[in-house]
Symmetry: C2
Subunit: 298 residues, 2 copies
Amino acid sequence: MLKVGFSRASVSAAPTHRLLFNLGRVNLATPIGNRSKLIGSVMGSHSTASSQSPKLLFRQLFEKESSTYTYLLADVSHPDKPAVLIDPVDRTVDRDLSVVKELGLKLTYAMNTHVHADHVTGSGLIKSKVPEVKSVISKASGAKADVLIEHGDKIYFGDLFLETRATPGHTSGCVTYVTGDGPDQSQPKMAFTGDALLIRGCGRTDFQSGNSEQLYKSVHSQIFSLPKDTCIYPAHDYKGFTVSTVGEEMLYNPRLTKDEGTFKGIMANLNLAYPKMIDVAVPANLVCGYQDLIPKSS
Amino acid sequence: MLKVGFSRASVSAAPTHRLLFNLGRVNLATPIGNRSKLIGSVMGSHSTASSQSPKLLFRQLFEKESSTYTYLLADVSHPDKPAVLIDPVDRTVDRDLSVVKELGLKLTYAMNTHVHADHVTGSGLIKSKVPEVKSVISKASGAKADVLIEHGDKIYFGDLFLETRATPGHTSGCVTYVTGDGPDQSQPKMAFTGDALLIRGCGRTDFQSGNSEQLYKSVHSQIFSLPKDTCIYPAHDYKGFTVSTVGEEMLYNPRLTKDEGTFKGIMANLNLAYPKMIDVAVPANLVCGYQDLIPKSS
């Protein structure tokens, strides 16, 4: 008999009795062989939504119109509680800064994983409201920012840091930010993959110097090489998922589990509509959201 | 000089140099007095999105149309990996069951925090697809279900459990499910508050036997009495928040930080529209989603 059951007891008193249901096994295929080994390593001893560093405060925030996730990370063991935002959106900057203020954090970086085509980054608006904040984007993106990062660069906030991994393919300047190694850092690791790797999907490769062959190599060499229990936090989700793991995506991503040739075929035949925001978003994001500072053409 | 900075180094090599930015303090009010004490206890040594039990797998899932959060919890240390879903939505049942299958879990309970008025619960549809699953709702809700729970009841999945706290006020049958006490259980605790307590808000009290005085008492006696670092996971969010804490809501909830009289005045003057789904959702949810089994009136 399973210990799965239902116990009736007052909140403050010891349980007086426990009703146990003898439940049959549900009719779901059990992973076998390599699958069960991989799943075991994904789920063995941790919560996949957790970030188990005693120093790290972590918040996932959602912008519904563009289905964008913004991430707030802070070192709350540091006296200044330094914090970073990854992929802020212009429409939700006030919400994000309100949370930063309420939690007593000191925002230091507004980081972008890439030049987005579907929304305007919040990094420019954040800088206009909190001038000390530095905008961050990859040098390879061709965009302007206070800090232009490259593969291998580390962004510190207190004792914690994010390491930059170049993951081009959706755009030529895409990066993935990965939490660091060491006893103070998040365990399991967390990877902020932008549009390179989405949960059970990936970013399109048909504009902004997109290249499906490059994206395939990026994901396999830079993300799938991380520990299997690394939490995947993408820039978007359209189905209501909030987190996945490297191990899960290696098993169940419908595109990136395929061989490279099949993947390229899938990406070449998506027949997606032209992004409605691209002509506004890309020029603005090439200056990290400082769109109002661009001289208007006469 | 702060240690907040930016380091350029190859991924595999030791940092060769570190550029440090001497950042001024951002222009944000710092909480003082009781506020800073409370905030300290909220953020001291944990991630507020985490569920730090080595046994617990936790997933937050979102249904965009009704802005509903569904929660998946499982004991992955148990050989059967027993799992529960809290507040599943009919439209996203296939997604939820797919995740359950991919993670190798055995779904045992489809639990409802209350009779929802804005969407149809997924518990009936889940039972039609996985008959072993038991639907759960409070006895006080007046709804039908396989398991009718009351204040103090515990729902076990493996070695983990959720404790039921009666939190009426939004509806007369609302409950909050709280993770258990003990070394195996989540630390910090997690509270699934339904519509009783939302992040910086609360459920309306103008239909389904709603009562603002009762809601105020429920939140203060049953939720705000939990440890300050307890993570608040509501049934809905409309602004893109995913999690809060008891400590945060005690400081920043714009309604429930007020005295009872002011709260009742706020709730009496919301002037909200009649819920567009209520006439479909409530009858269906009173039978936990088995709406197709209700005899049609001739």
